[in-house]
């Protein structure tokens, strides 16, 4: 007998998806298998490594410790949602590229989402705060020095982009969602 499924809707990176999933489908697997958004990586599958971290209504959560049916109707941001539509890297992604914040890249999606939310809450972290921000994510090859540097660089890039965006447009309302804010800010700063 086929396993019963549940109809749910997930809003992923601004796109609404209707899907039928068994209740036991982890959010990580719903993203990867059902939606084929394989940017979210699955490492340990029990909440230790942080590779599968996505933003749920803007807050970082472990997608491997979340049932897809549990978050029916909610908004998910994955690593695929961090770059601009034209493929231009978001500030955290750009910072990782600038600072050699990744080597094999397996853990990177979880770092990028975690840091994106972390910098929204604390846009100008100290080195210690940067370390604290990434303390729940494991990296087994790059080492953490370059990732800490990437956090600080991303803060710089975001601040510059915000300044440029502010100088370029007066009275523009600030977007609420961080991913959109980043995208808007980056477009403003990076496109002549």
């Amino acid at each position: 007998m086929a396993e019963p499924t549940h109809a749910i809707r997930l809003h992923v990176n601004g796109v609404a998806y209707d899907l039928d999933v068994p209740a036991r489908r982890l959010l990580s697997d719903a993203l990867r298998h059902d939606l084929e958004l394989t940017g979210t990586h699955v490492g340990c599958e029990h909440g230790v490594c942080g590779a599968c971290t996505v933003l749920l209504d803007g807050e970082p959560v472990r997608s491997c410790l979340t049932l897809a049916v549990s978050v029916d109707g909610q908004e998910v941001t994955t690593v695929e949602g961090l770059a601009a539509d034209d493929g231009e890297l978001g500030p955290v992604q750009q910072a990782f590229k600038d600072c050699h914040g990744l080597q094999c890249g397996f853990c990177t999606p979880g770092f990028l989402t975690t840091i994106t939310a972390g910098l929204r809450d604390n846009p100008d972290p100290t080195r210690d705060e940067a370390r604290e921000m990434i303390a729940g994510n494991l990296c087994r090859c790059t080492g953490y020095q370059n990732i800490v540097a990437s956090v600080l660089r991303a803060a710089e890039l975001s601040a510059t982009a915000e300044r440029d965006a502010f100088a370029g447009q007066t009275g523009g309302s600030r977007q609420k969602r961080h991913a959109q804010r980043e995208r808007g800010g980056n477009d403003g700063g990076g496109t002549p």
Binding site: L26, H46, L65
Partner: protein
């Protein structure tokens, strides 16, 4: 690593959740899932039915009044941690929550779930125990309160019956002349503690003398353990005898993470640190 199949129930109210629990034979309650979902994925747990509280908005509350703090079953750790009124009424909660895993886990995990899960290495059961808090639970036959001293039966075993829903924990407000502190030793920040101590010290406002001192220990036994150390605090105050008393009174086990001797050593060190810090908080809060 995937959970075994289960029947999924998504109640909208606490009443519906209680009804679902009373009807299902082998049900588990899902709140934050930060402990349960790994157990499901590793198939250490394979309940027939999962009752998901994530749609029960009436249980997503954190309330404070003169008596203390009340936390509903769907309040996330992060909700409690960020609540300034909670920090003012009962500072031990925020102090403890900063040690619970990582912010990403605290965005999802719940305080009541941590109590119901009853992990002897977790911070919040020891906090409930040392503060003398209460767990409220509901079943089809009614509501009952479980006091902290009766709440923890064994490792990962609370006094909740299978048909009972843990709906709320209550933690008393901190007295005006009291201070709290928590100290733990872990291999890495965010890990479960090798040993941890949550302390509450009541201080005489005039001379700083200790009126009472209690310590709640986690990761030292099958359940949280509370010691009343009031009579072991010497003038000064000096915490030496309290530390020795705790080392003698507790009988920690060794495992792959730490030997029993090392844990006993940590009990002494952390008892001293936690009591001193709670005493300093108590003195500070008075002035």
């Amino acid at each position: 690593m995937k959970p075994a199949p289960f029947e999924y129930v998504r109640p909208r109210t606490a009443d519906e959740a209680v009804a679902a629990l009373s009807e299902a034979a082998d049900a588990k309650v899902l709140a934050g899932g930060q402990s349960l979902i790994p157990l499901l994925s590793m198939r250490l747990a394979a309940p027939a039915t999962l009752v998901d509280l994530n749609g029960v908005e009436e249980l997503a509350y954190v309330r404070t009044d003169d008596d203390g703090v009340r936390i509903g079953a769907m309040a996330r750790h992060a909700d409690v941690e960020r609540d300034a009124a909670v920090a003012a009424r009962q500072p031990l909660l925020r102090q403890a929550l900063t040690l619970v895993a990582h912010p990403t886990i605290r965005n999802r995990g719940t305080a009541v779930g941590s109590i119901a899960h009853a992990d002897p290495a977790a911070e919040l059961p020891a906090v409930l125990a040392v503060l003398g808090g209460t767990l409220t639970c509901r079943s089809a036959s009614g509501t009952r309160d479980i006091t902290a001293s009766e709440c923890f039966v064994g490792p990962l075993e609370s006094a909740l019956r299978p048909d009972e829903l843990a709906t709320e924990i209550r933690l008393p407000a901190l007295g005006p002349t009291s201070g709290t502190a928590i100290r733990e030793a872990a291999r890495r920040h965010g890990d479960y503690a090798l040993v941890g101590v949550a302390a509450v010290v009541d201080v005489d406002g005039d001379d700083g003398a200790v009126r009472s001192a209690r310590a709640g220990y986690f990761s030292v036994a099958d359940t949280p353990v509370v010691l009343d150390l009031t009579d072991t605090v010497d003038e000064g105050p000096s915490w030496d005898r309290a530390a020795e008393h705790a080392m003698a009174a507790l009988d920690p086990l060794g495992d792959i993470h730490a030997s029993a001797d090392y844990r006993r050593h940590l009990i002494g060190v952390l008892t001293r640190q936690a009591l001193a810090a709670a005493h300093a908080e108590g003195r500070g809060s008075d002035g």
